[in-house]
Amino acid sequence: MEANIAIPSDSRETWSGGGVRPFGASYGKMMMWFFILSDALTFSGFLAAYGLTRFKFIDAWPIADEVFTHIPFVHGNYPMYYVAFMTFILIFSSVTMVLAVDAGHNMKKNKVSWYLFATIIGGLIFVGSQAWEWKTFINGSYGAIKTSDERILHFVKDGHQIALSDFVVGNRGDERITHTKKNGLWFVSGETVPKYSVSQVIASYKADPSIQVKSELVNVDKKQKVILSREKGLEELLKGNQIVEGANLQVNEYGNTIFANFFFFITGFHGFHVFSGILINIIIFFNVALGTYEKRGSYEMVEKVGLYWHFVDLVWVFVFTFFYLV
């Protein structure tokens, strides 16, 4: 029996008892740091994989400014502003967190509670904003045609991208409608049939000479997508076999599907960190309010949770740069 269990052979306290503090850091804090280190490596793995894929498709990668152009309640083309707002929210909630830690060092219970509360609100606003960003991305903005060789074609007029609904006229021509549960077979619904058909889009393109097709290819000198001539555009359009509206894991109206996959995966993984951070903050908030740490005589738990929260902010700084800026 004694060979299998660890029995303290002398009366000295073990590390887990909290008496010995290597590097002057408590067990919990040190382990939080090493957890953060491993989590940072996970995120850098994702971002580096994104980098590899982007380099692989460098001549046809979506331009972030043309993808994330929306802000809530306002129509128009506003790249960057919304994600900048999200960045501010997260940095600010990091500040309230560090203020809570600071107040904890001075044993000011009320201040710690209020700052933690503000941090939780900031986190909720951030997650809400991210949900809106996802919703906008999933619903799409313009609509596109996918060709048989997996290319995405956009439509432009006077150099600006336009939506399918801006120029497509006539009717689908094939009489197809979405099969819903209430028609035909019970509790069976079919794939959503887009409002327009490919042939209808091609006919509308032929009818309006001011419409041009924009390919995925990037002009290296101008860093803009190449706009095709009318003839070349028609040639590409005739290869079209699918209307794409919005983005998901199979198709992406903004360009390469793997861009959408990485977007969902990286911002989703980060958003899940924010979500779990909020949950932990809420638990700690109640502990503070109930006076748990006051009785314990130390607010170090706030500090440890704070480390995690700052890490979430730190990761966002990198996601912001590599998804939206670079």
């Binding site: 590097f23 002057g24 850091a25 040190m30 740091w33 090493f34 953060i36 280190l37 940072a40 490596l41 850098s44 793995g45 580096a48 994989a49 980098g51 590899l52 894929t53 982007r54 380099f55 692989k56 498709f57 460098i58 001549d59 400014d65 790249p79 960057m80 502003y81 900048a84 960045t87 501010f88 940095i91 600010f92 990091s94 500040v95 967190m97 560090v98 203020l99 830690v101 600071d102 060092h105 001075n106 390919s215 290819l217 000198d221 101008k222 860093k223 500090e303 704070g306 480390l307 700052h310 890490f311 902010d313 730190l314 700084v317 990198f318 912001f320 740069t321 939206y324 800026l325 670079v326």
Partner: protein
Amino acid sequence: MAHAHESNVKRIWMVFGLLSVVTVVEVALGIIKPEILYLTRFLGTSPLNWIFIILTLFKAYYITWTFMHMEGEKTWFRRAVVWIALFLICYLVTLLLIEGGYLFDTLGPLVNW
């Protein structure tokens, strides 16, 4: 921590100001995209991208050192975390980006635009 019981509130707000200014600069550059920075090339990418990367590392430094209070930890504890992260991330990123460039160089010519 030697100064665990003094208040750092002033410094915290200063760092917040600094991070905000850097973010505003990043966003402004991202919206304006000055052609001289955006359309020229320097060390494999545009100078604008280098500016973004440097500003990001600048922000990461301040978040880690002040907000996460790395500056107050013992030297070798700090190094045990930061050096490992820096070394492994640089290693990974270098290899993967070289590999990505190679994939484009070999597969790119096969794609018919």
